[in-house]
Symmetry: C2
Subunit: 129 residues, 2 copies
């Protein structure tokens, strides 16, 4: 069983999120999502609109996602990969190069983002209504 | 096979949408969602942030939902119920009483909305950022 992991906040869930999950799942058989906790978001000076619990509930109800784990800090990725026997780490290509250090532990793939859609853009659009 | 139908816009997909879909699915075996088209939304003086195609893609990727059909006008519900052999019509209880006329054709259930969350509220929150 090929295990894939990706990380993100998945706030204001949208089409681009689903496309990313679909492509990540297609790289293996079992998809784990490391979901940023509300506390970790604050550390990153980010504030998600939806709580961790609500974001987690949506991901867990999507058939593509097999497991959701909390992402609490930047440092946990190596131990996550080892603990969950991960074969492939996947993330959007806006992070290109940032996680090359993980290549020592598993395959690393940067997926192109879906054009024209992002949570940041949604927030900007909404703020300008 | 007990067939259930619900209708909505499902814009800025959130926890409350997923809860509604979960409860609707629990009322039967097969869940159809009548999804407001962008044109129908304009008729209702509503403008969804996400396009019909994007909203449809999210619903179709959720395991709970078996089928998505376009909702193009107010009048199509009776023919939808007949055409798809629907046993139960479900909608949020903010519509209480409005669809009692459908009781002649199938069971009608008004589900309580999940407190504290709605697309309208999300838009207000975002606009006040």
């Amino acid at each position: 069983m090929k295990k894939v992991i990706t990380y993100g906040t998945f706030d204001l869930f949208h089409y681009g999120h689903m496309k990313l999950l679909e492509r990540a799942k297609n790289l293996g058989d079992y998809l784990i999502v490391g979901l940023s906790t509300d506390e970790f978001n604050l550390q990153k000076q980010k504030k998600s609109h939806h709580s961790y619990e609500h974001r987690k509930f949506i991901l867990e109800t999507i058939d593509l996602v097999n497991e959701v784990i909390p992402e609490k800090n930047w440092e946990q990725k190596i131990s996550d990969i080892q603990k969950h026997d991960i074969d492939t780490f996947v993330i959007g290509d806006d992070w290109k190069g940032k996680f090359d250090f993980l290549k020592e532990y598993c395959e690393v793939i940067y997926l192109p983002r879906t054009d024209g859609i992002s949570t940041t853009q949604i927030k900007k659009d909404m703020a300008s209504l």
